[in-house]
């Protein structure tokens, strides 16, 4: 075995198996609330651009993961809720389970791991499920996060690209901060692409679409959600302090944008920039507007030439126009704040950050 073959063998150990078709897709509470356009874009890319079969079942509920990690939901309760979701998957004739939420992905991973280590617990949960719902427990053949799926098909997306992650004026690759949600790879490394040491799920997309990944000191630091540390107003200093630490660390590298695979992380890094800007007048970009924070579906959607207001990028607090201009994406500013059926909605105020 030569050196390259040896490295390929080692890297193969960091790869996860991802299904190819017939996906059972489940939405995320946070993404539905803050990035509804991203979940729709995932479905659009899968069905219309890649021709894949993706099933959604309206009977899917919250996994209760935010309640579980803020410790108001007990383990048997969340296990049984998850067991019901798996039962819905089986009822739909699917085996490839695809959650859109990283908290949920961690929950599903933890519960499958628990059932593997404690078979009696799995039996107990099957009985709870039967008693509460009349349903039968099933388990997925494959569990992959929606970012895993986009990663798997990144080259197919690149082949259909209308834009690259390249500055149209300079021809240079855009500099991208990638942020992986903690519960994607820190808990069950083998279920992530690249493991906890080399998470590659977003890097693979960025590089396939022409961008350049920034490596910065606090790259793997938590965004600061911390569940109860954000949910309770009195604790939010924890949450913003963690994001602040990341922003300060990435600032010298002049990122063009941030992309995250976790709904909470994307939302917090957007909103905390607004908070810090409002409190201190400080931003971490050179133009004083903040660094745009994207979901990976928004990044994929821009590459495919989907209209940014169809992607839902008007819901970001930090405006994305600086990035759209760099990429050369066409957009109509007058359509940014239109509602359903082009309903004219009142425009939100524009924010200008000013130092005291």
């Amino acid at each position: 075995m030569n050196q390259i073959e040896g490295k390929q063998k080692i890297w193969a150990e960091y790869q996860k198996e991802i299904g190819d078709d017939n996906f059972f897709f489940v939405r995320s509470c946070i993404r539905q609330s803050f990035f509804p356009g991203s979940e729709q874009t995932f479905l659009k890319i899968m069905r219309e651009y890649l021709g894949k079969r993706v099933i959604e079942d309206y009977r899917h509920t919250t996994c209760t993961g935010i309640g579980y990690h803020s410790d108001i939901v007990k383990l048997p309760t969340i296990e049984t809720v998850v067991a019901r979701h798996f039962s819905l998957m089986a009822e739909n004739g699917c085996e490839n389970y695809v959650p859109s939420c990283v908290t949920s992905f961690g929950i599903y991973s933890e519960i499958l791991d628990t059932w593997e280590h404690f078979p009696d617990e799995k039996e107990r949960i099957a009985q709870f499920l039967k008693e509460a719902t009349g349903r039968t427990l099933a388990t997925p053949k494959n569990l992959a996060h929606t970012s895993d799926i986009i990663y798997k098909f990144r080259n197919e997306i690149a082949a259909k690209a209308k834009f690259k992650l390249v500055n149209k004026k300079t021809g240079q690759p855009l500099k991208v901060v990638e942020h992986i949600g903690c519960h994607y790879s820190k808990m069950f490394a083998k279920r992530s692409q690249g493991g906890q040491e080399f998470p590659h799920v977003l890097v693979g997309m960025i590089e396939a679409w022409g961008g350049e990944v920034i490596d910065y000191p606090e790259r793997r630091h938590c965004c600061g959600f911390g569940f109860r540390q954000y949910l309770v107003m009195a604790n939010r200093g924890y949450s913003v302090a963690n994001s602040y630490k990341k922003f300060e660390s990435m600032e010298p590298y002049h990122p063009d944008f941030i992309v995250a695979n976790c709904p909470g992380c994307a939302m917090f890094m957007d909103k905390w920039q607004y908070t810090i800007g409002s409190m201190e007048g400080r931003t971490f970009d050179q133009e004083g507007k903040g660094i745009p924070v994207l979901t990976y579906e928004e990044m994929a959607g821009l590459v495919l030439g989907i209209d940014p207001w169809e992607l839902g990028m008007q819901m970001h607090q930090i405006p994305v126009e600086t990035l759209l201009d760099k990429m050369g994406v066409d957009y109509d500013p007058d359509k940014k704040f239109l509602g359903f059926n082009d309903e004219q909605l009142p425009k939100p105020p524009e924010i200008v950050f000013q130092r005291d």
Binding site: Q32, G67, T114, N235, G237, F337
Partner: protein, 237 residues
Amino acid sequence: MGKYLSRLKQDLRVQEGLKACMNCGVCTAICPAAEFYKYDPRIIIETVQSDNDEEIEKLLKSDTIWYCGECMSCKTRCPRGNTVGLIISGLRQLSQELGFFVESEKGRQQFAIKRTIGQCILDLGYCVHASIVAPRLHPEQGPIWEWVYQNQESIFNKLGGNNFGKVGEGALAKHDDETMEELRNIFKVTGGIDFFNDIEKHSKRKAKEMGLGFKEEGIDNEYFTHVFTYNSNEHNK
């Protein structure tokens, strides 16, 4: 084995997360909470491992167990396979079952989480739903969120599949009655409702003890506002 450790060890998460700690402190080095709060995950595991009932009870009644953000960064680094975040989950559950959580400022906040996230799960089938992210409770969300919040139906129908508040597939769709019944039954059968009731019972007792107004439902009461907003500022390094 002492009464608290024997109960903790019934929790599968504690069984998975507590192997044999050698006190190297790498969990503390990587922990975001340890950087922000007066918090040391190494001490948590040392205290639990000590099997000293008096010390564990002190921990269960303290602010300390509520500092962790459950990011699980500790899991990636422990050379012995311990996960302090999982032990914290076990400690928090026991603290709530025994009613000890109301003895600390951070512990009392469980009532606010139950009345917001917990109620949203039982009422709507979501942990988080745009309708509960009210700008008055979330000023950090900014004016764009306020715009979304005030125009929810139009915006979610435009961006999320046009089933907002209706039964069907799409963002923030309504869950049908049968689905909600199944979800609530799961909470009943697995002890989830009893756990909620425990949080309520002990919080009501504490509100009376503290002389703060308490209502059986909702968030418009003095005790909720207090636990949701009060910060003694004695927690940070």
